[in-house]
């Protein structure tokens, strides 16, 4: 450990905090101007549901390959409480509430995302054979295909 290392660590922390602040203030501004957060649920790249984050609700989403999952919206958070997919990664993921956060069920190709009400869903799932889709940018854990190193 040298003196320069401390500066590096501090620099990174400062950039991280700044970044967080910029994103947060952007969100806060949007929210105070009346745009509230919504839960966008999509299957295979197409949005099937947009629910308000602030109305308690429970929905069962039917995905691809016969897999489904149950989404719960309570106290301003969205969570996947049940799924019949083999890896159950979606159930283990923490509840989401901030814009941009997502929960993904890969086998079912279900994406649950927090966005600003009314904003169009950006279809980020490009289709190509063998492409797991859903923004799996560190590789697809739990599948036979290996992830990025």
């Amino acid at each position: 450990m040298k003196k320069g290392d401390i500066y590096v660590a501090l620099l990174i922390l400062i950039v991280a905090v700044l970044w967080y602040w910029i994103l947060k203030s952007g969100n806060d501004r949007a929210e105070s101007s009346g745009v509230s957060r919504a839960v966008s649920i999509s299957v295979d790249g197409t949005e099937v549901m947009e629910l308000s984050l602030f109305e308690d609700r429970s929905e069962i989403i039917r995905g691809v390959n016969g897999y489904s999952c149950e989404v719960n919206i309570t106290s301003g958070k969205a969570d996947v409480v049940w799924a019949d997919c083999p890896d159950k990664l979606c159930v283990n993921q923490r509840a989401i509430a901030s814009v941009g956060e997502t929960i993904v069920c890969l086998p079912a190709r279900i994406v649950i995302e927090i966005k600003e009400e009314g904003e169009p869903f950006y279809d980020g799932i490009s289709g190509s054979p063998g492409d797991p889709g859903g923004g799996c940018f560190n590789g697809c854990v739990g599948r036979s295909r290996r992830g990025a190193l």
């Binding site: 450990m1 040298k2 003196k3 320069g4 290392d5 500066y7 590096v8 660590a9 990174i12 922390l13 950039v15 991280a16 905090v17 970044w19 967080y20 994103l23 283990n92 993921q93 923490r94 901030s98 814009v99 941009g100 956060e101 995302e113 966005k115 950006y122 279809d123 980020g124 799932i125 490009s126 190509s128 063998g130 492409d131 797991p132 923004g135 799996c136 940018f137 560190n138 590789g139 854990v141 295909r145 290996r146 992830g147 990025a148 190193l149």
Partner: protein, 170 residues
């Protein structure tokens, strides 16, 4: 003596592939995509210290291509390349700064790697909101970079001694 160096680089390449596989076996650290220990970077650091930047780059590219071809998809290859190249650039540049030790180099490498993957993700998935992961990725890059840097630091001295011994014996 060139054959000897090739042999060592081959060993390092294998080590990088194996550490990558070990990471794959370990459970994910958090719910956040893109967060991993980055153990393969230890090998890149070691190679850079013991053999120089060019050889380190060679091992890095070989490892990325091999693991991408053997175990990954075109997508994982793109993410690996984007993360790996940016990380290498950051490490190559920062290793010149005398005030920074290998730990600092490793931190910058880890952070650069995460940023590279973030950028690739934004373009590939075409979802700008991914940028929200930024602060967390920076923080985890700092932690994992620190960890791998410490490990590399511990391992380099005995390795350097071992290589020197072999050379004088022969």
């Amino acid at each position: 003596m060139k054959i000897k160096k090739t042999a060592y680089l081959g060993l390092l390449l294998s080590a990088a592939l194996i550490t990558g596989y070990i990471e794959f076996l370990l459970p994910p650290i958090s719910g956040i995509p893109g967060v991993k220990l980055g153990l393969s970077n230890i090998v890149t650091l070691i190679t850079m210290e013991l053999f120089g930047k060019k050889d380190a780059f060679l091992v890095l590219i070989s490892r990325i291509l091999l693991s991408g071809l053997l175990f990954g998809s075109i997508f994982s290859l793109i993410f690996s390349l984007s993360g790996g190249l940016l990380a290498f650039g950051a490490m190559a540049l920062s290793s010149r700064i005398r005030e920074i030790s290998i730990t600092g180099v490793s931190i910058l490498g880890a952070v650069a790697h995460n940023m590279g993957q973030l950028i690739a993700a934004v373009f590939l998935v075409k979802e700008l909101k991914i940028i929200y992961y930024g602060p967390l990725l920076l923080f985890f890059g700092l932690l994992t970079g620190f960890l791998t840097g410490m490990i590399a630091g511990l391992v380099i001295r005995p390795l350097r001694a071992a290589i020197k011994d072999r050379d004088t014996v022969n």
